[in-house]
């Protein structure tokens, strides 16, 4: 077994149900983001760039795509002889065994892994945030101040505090309370879901938490309050820079658009802190004689013959002549056929948008696909692996899902295929 004093554990098992059909068959961390990345590329690259070489990826929900994507960790330089990337799914034991019940339980179930590594410190990360962060600095502060736990925090606008886990702090950024989504916050320091723990301390707390039948085994809800109740030394580590939770359709869309409107904030071209990803092995992107492209991001394998404005195209996307794509996010392998019009759409892997389809925020009308629980701000989400019928109309806030039963006249799906 590899030895490592510092081990990162990425919580990648959540379903991400607020992303609707985008996470129907794949775990949220494996959802494509920002043209050539998957969400999990950010924590993995941050680990690699911070010098953390032993990384556990805790997968549970629909793990196939995630597990094959992470593979042996090679794209992130995590194919190490000593350490490297480890996929850690829940497993059957001879005694009591269970799925990962909560974030803390997932770590608890992997205590043997951490013990065998000889871990002294662990950093717990979530697989659903977009940010660039040097974890080494945070870990140094944790060690220098002799903390039992250190939580990364970011200042959020006061009016948004009710969406986050908020930390109240005393002098020296000593944490005094953790309040999940407070109605009236006393602080605007939101937890970023990045925790550093001294492993022997956390291990005891996890064992105690497991014995409490009323616990949800969650870091924010249970573990941090339990540590505070024991007067342990918890500190907040202030982070400033770009950080975004991409847990909802609206925030995923916004975060993609930030790459176009404010590219300097996440600064993906910074060669001192590259974000690595698995390469699709496709040629450079091609913009034809007939194409019009502006304010857009593209990557290998894209072929544009139509109009693309203010959009993010993943690899191998084709936009045919006469098609118009505005304010949209097209995931790998999407084809937009001639005469189609998309605005504010997120289209899943390999879906073919048929000729003259109209879909998006500016399209009005009634449709059985309208789903305001998942979609907001007019955004239309289309599932992967679909062929959308010629001339179909898909109005604002629709989620095109092949499992929705409709009558023939309202059905926009011509066929479904495996991608």
């Amino acid at each position: 077994m590899a030895k490592a004093e510092i081990v990162a554990m990425i919580l990648a098992g959540g379903q991400g149900s607020r992303l609707g059909v985008l996470t129907k068959n794949i775990a949220k961390p494996a959802v494509p983001f920002g043209s050539r990345y998957r969400i999990i590329d950010f924590p993995l690259s941050n680990c690699s760039n911070s010098g953390i070489e032993t990384v556990g990826v805790l997968s549970q929900y629909q793990p196939l795509a995630l597990n094959t994507y992470v593979g042996n960790g090679h794209p992130w330089d995590l194919d190490r002889n000593n350490g490297g990337a480890f996929i850690l799914p829940p497993y059957l034991r001879s005694g009591k065994s269970d799925w990962y019940k909560g974030t803390a339980n997932a770590i608890f179930q992997n205590r043997d892994f951490l013990d065998d590594c000889g871990a002294k410190l662990i950093i717990v990360l979530s697989g659903d945030h977009i940010y660039k962060m040097n974890y080494a600095k945070m870990i140094r502060e944790h060690v220098d101040r002799g903390a039992d736990a250190t939580l990364a925090v970011i200042e959020v606008p006061w009016e948004e505090t009710s969406r986050f886990g908020i930390l109240d702090t005393g002098p020296g950024d000593e944490i005094t309370a953790f309040i999940e989504k407070p109605k009236k916050a006393k602080s605007n320091l939101a937890s970023m879901g990045v925790y550093v723990f001294s492993w022997p301390v956390l291990r005891e707390i996890l064992v105690e938490d497991e014995e409490n039948p009323n616990s949800d085994n969650d870091f924010g809800k249970d573990i941090v309050p339990l540590m505070l109740s024991k007067s342990m030394h918890l500190i907040a580590y202030r982070f400033s820079g770009y950080w975004k939770d991409v847990g909802t359709i609206a925030s995923l869309w916004e975060c993609n658009m930030d790459l176009l409107d404010r590219p300097e904030e996440l600064n993906l071209i910074d060669r001192n802190w590259r974000i690595y990803s698995r390469n699709p092995i496709k040629p450079s992107n091609f913009i034809s004689e007939d194409a019009t492209v502006s304010m857009s991001a593209m990557t290998d394998g894209c072929q544009v013959y139509g109009t693309v404005q203010h959009s993010v195209l993943s690899d191998s996307v084709t936009v045919e002549k006469g098609a118009v794509v505005i304010d949209s996010v097209l995931l790998p392998g999407v084809t937009v056929q001639s005469g189609a019009y998309l605005d504010k759409c997120i289209v899943g892997f390999g879906t073919i948008i048929g000729p003259n389809v109209k879909a998006g925020a500016s399209v009005s009308g009634e449709s059985p696909y309208i789903n305001t629980r998942i979609c907001s701000e007019g955004i239309v989400v289309i599932e992967k692996g679909l062929k959308i019928k010629e001339n179909a109309i898909i109005p604002a806030n629709s989620q095109v899902d092949c499992d929705i039963k409709t009558n023939e006249s309202e059905n926009v799906i011509e066929e479904t295929f495996r991608v």
Binding site: L268, I269, S277, S284, S296
Partner: protein
């Protein structure tokens, strides 16, 4: 599927010079097609055929080639058994020159240490996407000593150009070097297959005769004593023999049919991964008919051009009919037409560089203009 063959790529060719582009690097390491080096195409053909052992024979200037190939991981050639071997000139401890054909001795050692039945020998001035399985089958079934690839491009690609004449059984009866008049349009592609043991014999024989010009063409000259079967390849082949053909071949990539044959046949072209950010097209950009790679930032006008990774085209600048290599920075208010800019070149604000279709301007690696 399983192909019992090894590959050998000749990274240099003393008959070919690309001027400024081949000054700092081997022919095989010249960037071509946005995110590739010329060798990527042949290396990928071999890997896609199922070949798991490839030697790259280099003469000099191999630093850039070695940087690019690394352990061979990008081509899945980082293997415990065989894999990728770069074969620089073999200089033993007692001699400091390679005068006595010692690079061939090193090559011979490498070929002897392999166990494959067949060997595919290829030049590195060709851009192609194919597999060699059928090519080897023809060698087996025709009873020939060697097979060599050709297409019917005739003499339009400039020197060096080898034209075959063949008999009815497609065995080569004559090989002509840069002929002015010819009956045949069968133009050598520079890929040859033969039994590994036969190649060992041929190289040993050459060494004992003091003949040091080992290459595809020295083997083809054996047509009078050996049976060499010509094999017609009907797909796309781009030959890079000089700056002019390099420029023309680059521009051909803007043709949908050329890209379809080269990149979208299902057999990928592998290259070293750079992890650049996605290409960003800014608000005021105007891009038509261009192949653009990751890490580029386009704020100006780009037309009929190939942009490699990490290129910046600033505001109010125009790039037309040009090949712009990795990490070139083009400042504001520049006009570039028919130019080839090598890696890391910097073009200062307001610069105008205009070449001609038959004579593109070439700017050195790292030059500041």
């Amino acid at each position: 599927m399983f192909l019992d063959a090894m590959g050998l790529i000749l990274a240099d060719n003393h008959k070919i010079s690309l001027g400024e582009l081949s000054k700092p690097r081997a022919l095989a390491a010249i960037p071509f097609g946005g995110r590739y080096r010329i060798i990527d195409y042949m290396l990928s053909c071999m890997v896609n055929s199922g070949i798991k052992s490839v030697g790259i024979l280099t003469l000099n200037k191999y630093k850039s080639l070695m940087d690019h190939l690394g352990t061979g991981a990008s081509w899945d050639l980082d293997r415990k058994n065989f894999g990728l071997h770069i074969l620089p000139p073999y200089v033993n401890s007692e001699s400091t020159s390679t005068e006595d054909g010692e690079e061939m001795a090193g090559l011979l050692d490498f070929i002897r240490s392999n166990r494959s039945e067949y060997i595919i020998l290829a030049n590195s001035n060709i851009v192609i996407n194919t597999t060699f399985n059928d090519f080897i089958e023809v060698l087996k079934s025709s009873g020939a000593d060697m097979t060599v690839m050709y297409n019917r491009d005739g003499t339009k690609h400039g020197s060096p150009n080898f034209i075959f004449e063949t008999d009815k059984k497609r065995m080569i009866t004559d090989v002509l070097f840069n002929p002015e008049k010819t009956k045949s349009n069968r133009c050598c592609i520079g890929v040859i297959a033969l039994k590994r043991t036969l190649l060992i014999d041929l190289i040993s024989e050459m060494m004992s005769h003091g003949d040091r010009n080992f290459g595809i063409y020295s083997l083809l000259k054996k047509f009078d004593t050996m049976k060499i079967r010509a094999y017609e390849y009907k797909g796309l082949v781009l030959r890079i023999n000089n700056i002019q053909t390099y420029f023309n071949a680059s521009m051909q990539l803007l043709d949908d049919r050329v890209r379809a044959d080269l990149f979208w046949k299902g057999t990928p072209v592998f290259t070293k991964v750079k992890d650049e950010a996605p290409t960003l097209y800014y608000d005021a950009c105007d891009v038509k008919n261009a192949l653009v790679s990751d890490g580029c930032r386009i704020m100006g006008q780009v037309e009929n051009s190939i942009l490699f990774r990490g290129v910046t085209v600033s505001k109010n600048s125009t790039v037309r009919n040009s090949v712009i290599m990795q990490d070139v920075h083009i400042s504001d208010n520049c006009v570039l037409d028919h130019v080839i800019l090598d890696k890391n070149a910097v073009i200062r604000p307001g610069t105008q560089l205009v070449g001609h279709n038959d004579y593109p301007v070439v700017i050195d690696k790292g030059a500041i203009v």
